[in-house]
């Protein structure tokens, strides 16, 4: 078991809404060589849950264990083992993708030779080789997203946390992104991704956690969810769970 999340909660406060739980008692696990998807509508608490696991936000309560390490007690150790792609992340517009990857790779403690090799592989797999030396300001949305992913996992982490990885990508780019994620699974990585697209969840995820209003409504493979709800299509499963 790579990552185990137990009763994770995060409380938010907004002037207009008052207090509410953005993540409410969320528990799930992600195994090695598995793609686990958090599926939910906008504002369901996917990003908050992922941010808390990635140690960017402090949890209100709960626990996360990554390969025996308590993520919240030892965030420095946990960060070495995970790569996090946030859905809202930006790039340094005045730097080139190569410079960005070098910067993050070196900050993650990689040596020059390993880093160059890794950049080459990532650029080839994610298909942005020809833009490696162009400033990010001029890149398309899709290429920027690919560079963001490469930046998140440049240090080759064991756990990849991807928050809506195919946002803003066209069909071809989405396909190559999916291939990339599947390849990572083959390498034995644990992948935790969030999405609001039923299609993506159906195509990619080995197991799915359906989340709404900060709460996990159901967890299981597509087959298990079908049996649980008696519906066949993921869309129908989702609607029946949310309405219930």
């Amino acid at each position: 078991m790579a990552l185990v999340v137990e009763a994770l909660s995060k409380r938010f406060y907004e002037k207009s809404r008052g207090e509410f739980m953005a993540s409410d008692n969320v528990s799930f696990d992600v195994r090695d060589g598995e793609i686990f998807g958090l599926l939910g509508p906008n504002g369901a608490g996917k990003t908050t849950t992922l941010r808390v696991i990635a140690t960017i936000l402090l949890p209100t309560s709960g626990k996360a264990i990554l390969d025996g390490i308590d993520v919240f007690a030892q965030p420095d150790k946990a960060r070495i083992m995970m790569g996090f792609l946030s859905s809202t992340t930006g790039l340094y517009e005045r730097l080139t993708p190569r410079e960005i990857l070098q910067y993050f790779g070196r900050l993650c403690g990689m040596g020059s030779a390993d880093l160059e090799q890794r950049i080459k592989i990532l650029a080839a797999t994610l298909d942005f080789e020809k833009y490696l030396n162009a400033r990010c300001a001029g890149l398309s949305q899709g290429t920027k997203q690919k560079v963001s992913i490469a930046r998140a996992i440049v240090h080759n982490p064991k756990l990849m946390i991807l928050d809506e990885p195919s946002t803003g990508l066209d069909v071809l780019a989405t396909q190559s992104m999916h291939d990339f994620i599947k390849d990572a699974r083959k390498e034995g990585k644990a992948i935790l991704l969030s999405t609001h697209s039923m299609d993506e969840a159906e195509k990619l995820c080995d197991r799915i956690g359906i989340i709404n209003d900060g709460k996990i409504l159901a967890i299981g493979s597509l087959e298990e969810l079908r049996q649980k709800t008696g519906k066949t299509k993921l869309e129908e499963i989702f609607v029946s769970l949310v309405r219930a």
Binding site: A54, L57, I80, R94, Y103, L107
Partner: protein, 661 residues
Amino acid sequence: MRLEPVKLVFFKEFVEAVRDYRTVIPMVFMSLALGPLLVLILPKIALIQGKAIIMDTYRVAQVGDSQLVAAEVKNAPDFKFVDIGSMSPQLAVDKGLVDAAIVIPSNFDQSLESNFKKVDKVDIVYNGTRSKSGMARLRLSMWWDGLNQRFLQRRIKHAGINIEQPPNVAMKEISPESPFGVTTPFMQLMLAAILMMMALMGVVYPALDAITGERERQTLEPLLMTHAERSELFAGKLLTVASTSYISVLLTLLSFFVCQFLQPWIYGQHTFLQDSFPFKAVFPWPCFLFTGLAMLPLCVTLAASALMFSSYAKTIQQGQGYFLPLMLLGLVPLLVVLLGNVHLNASVCAVPFLNCIVAFNDVLSGYIDFFWLIVSTLISVAFCFLAILLVSPQLAREDLLFGVTDSPARRFAANDYRRELLFLCALIFLLMFYGSQVLVLNYHLWGVALTQILIVLMPALIFVRYWLRLPLTTVIKVSAPRGGLATFFSMILMVPLTITTASACVYLQSQLLPGTDALNEVMAKTLGIGSEPLMLLIFVVGILPGICEEILFRGVVLSFLPSKYSQTRLVIIVGTLFGAFHMSILRFLPTAAMGALLTFVRLRCGSIWPAMILHCLHNSFSVVLTRYMSSDFSSGGAVYFFAGGLAIGLLGLCLFIRATR
């Protein structure tokens, strides 16, 4: 802190900065343009302007009949006398027919001829809103002074008295030969102001971009996910911002240095190069070198301050608002330094920021004290380390990154009123700075009473009762103290301890820092310690601050700091705030120590009364001692005074600790 990540962040930030025209234009082009502009072009404009002023003739009307004045008028080449007929001089000046008019009283000539008769005044009419008219008035009055001198000599001659002319004054300027220092004071003033401006300009945009920009563009989140520590990220950014500022300063210095050689070449051996013309640029290379070195601590300090400001901003727009105080922070000490003839000494060295400005201004004026220069540099380095330690955790603040915050109700339940307290402290400090000084200077002793009631007590009470709507008695802790009567008795015994400690602080300070004695004298004089009735003094300086300041600091401020803080932390925070509240570097140490002790007393016994009594007694006894005792501690009696005071005081402290156990 590891060096490798700091280096990485520095290089990346620097590359980003030099690829941004908003940084490069002020850093390189503006810096390089300033030298030629101020050393080569500005003197030319000034010369042309000066020449115009010298060559200008002024249209002047003479009103009133005087043969004597009319005869002198013919020999005055600066003025063109215009006949305005019967028009009133006011109207002629107002309509612009003449620049000024000279109104001669009737019978002027006759009065002047009769030796001992008083002559009526001569009026000069001019229009203050027109610069040329103002200039005409100046020239006319100077001309009239010369004329008066001649009239006086005529009278003396007429009276048949033979008086020798008193000697005229001859000016002789000496310029000490120094390898340091810019020769003309004007050039020094200008260079100091420009270097300060460039250092400030060099930090503003890069600092905003490095932290607030990252936050706004959402690139800070992945950066915080790397293995670099917050302090390493902050230190790398600090180095970049300091570098851009320092490059601006060095290029400005360089352009000034080079232009001094071009000045004689462009102007030829013009007369002003030999005279002490204010624009004469003489900038010896040791001065250039040392100014360059002395500017380094300033750039680093400015960078640390700028990053501090930008760390608290969510957006660049918000950050720009925060930079206004930084600008003021930079420009106010500069004005003080430039106009106040301040040099590096023990007290100036201790104030970060001010010490850097004084240091480089000293070098520019050729006054270098190497010892204090080194101490000042070390203090700047310490300030930057402190900034790194204190501010780097702000990078990951959830409320600034994502707007995630706890509700006020929950914060209040955890006794965390820090935000509200920050507002109250800012308000009281501003009121103290602007209001209290005015009140005390104008109304002396009554000013102190008004300060205590209007600035200290009222805001605290309004804050608790009407803003947070909390019960006053609970916040101020008016319950009976732990230890009962023994606690109150120990407070009386502790008074000698506080008095001797405060006196020792003041004495030590007066040996190290200049101005302590002068400050005490000014305070005693302003408050009328020696002249006002004693009971009134004890009430206003002793009892009133004891009550009001305790309600504010040991009551409101202490109660609103998070209860999770340790006792030591609370004692240090409230003590420091209490010291700073007195608005004087010279009073900081004794008042902060007193504040810390009072906080300790209040925390230990759980009630405000003992602290209030100790404060009232301390202040009242200080007043009595200042009134009736000599402040000369070098006499033999002082040793017994200190030793006795300490012994009784420590006994009181022991009793207090025992009673509240």
